[in-house]
């Protein structure tokens, strides 16, 4: 399986602080990768670097085999991004918002309407297309954000805290939608969150980021099977997370969490 995202020693420095340090991340095609970490860990910074919205201080990053700093437009044509607090033009209707984004993506004519209808249908907003976004609830706005992503028929979607602020029903719906998109359309998903239960349910693999460093990565099964330095068995994602959250950078516990150096095709 080929990697849709591959970074090597990716570092981003702000003045005296390393927001992201020596990040070696790999996301494979067709999988849902959970990017976990506390607030301020560097998740959003990494995502910005993946999209070419920020320049890395050092290291390399390849998304769909393209360099974001050299060909950002090509990447943005193929990658959908749902930011943390997605905004819409509230005085326009949902369809008008989608039409605007579709045209920005280079779609014209009949194709625009077809894709809008398909996207709204996919996220369950087909009946609310003519409503102004002002009247949309938070859950509906998140779904509209996903509909916007789907307009360009991306190969990879990056979601920054997609379930933040949703009620339990909305969270279920969002998770189900993401899983469906991955299964049915073969989309690769990079999901950044700090809500562990949801991540646990849909992610194939996870990576735990703390203070800019990737302290653990692998499938949840792999991580659960590892023991800590003291020999304690970690039995749930929450345990894993709390353990690595408190691990000192550079300690043996951290090394335990690093992905094995197996060559991937």
């Amino acid at each position: 399986m080929s990697a849709v995202i591959r970074t090597q020693n990716l570092t981003k420095r702000y003045q005296s602080r390393n927001a992201v340090e020596d990040l070696n991340l790999e996301v494979l095609q067709g999988e849902i990768f959970g990017f976990l970490g506390p607030n301020g860990a560097g998740k959003t910074t990494t995502i910005l670097m993946l999209l070419g919205l920020t320049e890395p201080s050092s290291g390399t990053v390849r998304v769909l085999d393209l360099d974001p700093t050299r060909s950002p437009l090509k990447i943005k044509q193929r990658v959908g991004y749902l930011p943390e607090n997605v905004g819409f033009y509230t005085d326009l209707t949902a369809r008008q918002n989608l039409r605007f984004v579709a045209e920005l993506n280079g779609l014209r004519g009949r194709l625009v309407e077809d894709r809008i209808a398909a996207a709204l249908d996919r996220v369950g907003l087909a009946d609310s297309g003519e409503m102004r976004v002002q009247a949309y609830s938070r859950g509906m706005r998140q779904r509209l954000g996903i509909a916007e992503l789907l307009l360009k028929e991306p190969q990879l979607i990056i979601l920054d805290e997609p379930t933040l602020g949703l009620d339990p029903d909305g969270i279920q719906g969002m998770i189900g939608l993401i899983r469906q998109l991955c299964d049915e359309q073969g989309l690769s998903v990079l999901l950044s969150s700090h809500l562990l239960h949801q991540v646990q349910r849909i992610c194939d693999r996870v990576g735990i980021l703390n203070r800019g460093r990737l302290v653990a990565s692998g499938t949840i099964a792999e991580l659960i099977n590892r023991k800590t330095a003291e020999g304690v068995q970690l039995s749930s994602l929450e345990d894993i997370y709390m353990h690595y959250f408190h691990a000192e950078p550079g300690s043996r516990d951290e090394a335990l969490g690093q992905p094995a150096n197996t060559a991937r095709s």
Binding site: L48, L51, T54, K76, Y81, E84, V86, G87, F88, T90
Partner: protein, 315 residues
């Protein structure tokens, strides 16, 4: 870029802000034109008439100011109001992150917004001038000749360029300042300074750098005045008023004033006996136009430098 252009244009024309501005400007111009028209009719009813009556509509003062003065001092406000929240409103609404993650160039965002503003201003001004011309025809009864119509067209173009400069400046402020209120305030502050206080500051600086120790020494006086003039060139309001007064008043001499002659000679020398042709007027006006365009380009340069490499987070 044209997608953004079309959306911004629709936003402008459907916004309440634009409607209020439109009503205000139309009201003021209608009132002034009517008053000026009536006055002109009365003044010119006897005796020989000067060559270009029609343009006098724009340069004669009504109760407080003439139309060209009105546009010179309040046009910037129009430009500022249309552009002061261009980028920072999108940032606070969260739509800017969405825009820049689409496959478009970042400068397309600025260019699209600017062009939409320019077109709105152009439509507004063209309708305004046509309205004034129509009303003038009704009240004064003077029909513009080809020369006057050409001058009017040039006046229209220069006015649009002038207000577009202020639009560009307010877009730069909206990029520099996060808060919408701050960028509006900065624009208005700069406008007030440049419109009302430049002359005063220019004379202050000139007196500091090249003081006139004795009025009898012509070189000192000349140097002082030269410096004042040159400092004045920095202000777009000054550039605009100089350019348009030459365009609209073909009898007016060039802007460099003679300082050594007394008051009476000044008055009689101030006006030509025969009007300047259009080509000559243009020649006088071109340096000022170049100055205006240069200022606009500088503004855009500043906008690009700030915006193109900035990191934009949605939170």
């Amino acid at each position: 870029m044209w997608t953004i252009f079309r959306k911004e244009l629709a936003d402008h024309f459907s916004s309440v802000r634009f409607l209020i501005l439109l009503c205000l400007i139309v009201m003021v111009t209608l009132v002034i034109t009517y008053m000026v028209g009536i006055n002109l009719r009365q003044e010119l009813s006897g005796g020989s008439k000067p060559g270009s009556v029609f343009l006098l509509l724009f340069t004669t003062s009504g109760r407080f100011f003439s139309l060209s003065q009105f546009i010179a001092f309040f046009g910037p406000l129009l430009g500022i109001i249309m552009g002061f929240d261009a980028i920072n409103r999108e940032q606070s609404a969260g739509t800017l992150s969405k825009l820049i993650s689409q496959p478009i160039y970042r400068d397309d965002i600025i260019n699209g917004k600017f062009l939409a503003g320019v077109l709105t201003i152009a439509v507004l001004f063209t309708s305004l001038i046509l309205l004034i011309a129509g009303l003038g025809l009704l009240t004064v009864g003077a029909v513009p000749g080809v020369n006057e119509a050409a001058r009017l067209l040039l006046y229209l173009l220069v006015s649009i360029a002038y207000v577009s400069f202020w639009l560009g400046l307010s877009i730069v402020f909206s990029i520099l300042f996060r808060s919408v209120a701050t960028s509006a305030l900065a624009g208005v502050a700069l406008w007030i300074f440049l419109a009302f206080f430049t002359g005063f500051c220019a004379s202050l600086v000139a007196d500091a750098v090249a003081p006139v120790k004795s009025r009898q020494n012509p070189e000192q006086v000349m140097a002082n005045r030269e410096l004042q003039q040159n400092i004045g060139l920095v202000s777009p309001v000054h550039l605009y008023t100089q350019a348009t007064s030459t365009l609209l008043d073909p009898y007016r001499k060039t802007s460099k004033q003679f300082v050594l002659v007394g008051t009476m000679e000044n008055i009689s020398m101030n006006r030509f006996q025969n009007p300047l042709s259009l080509g000559q007027s243009l020649l006088v006006v071109v340096p000022y136009l170049t100055g205006l365009l240069a200022l606009t380009v500088v503004c855009f340069g500043a906008a690009y430098i700030c915006f193109l490499r900035r990191e934009i987070r949605s939170a």
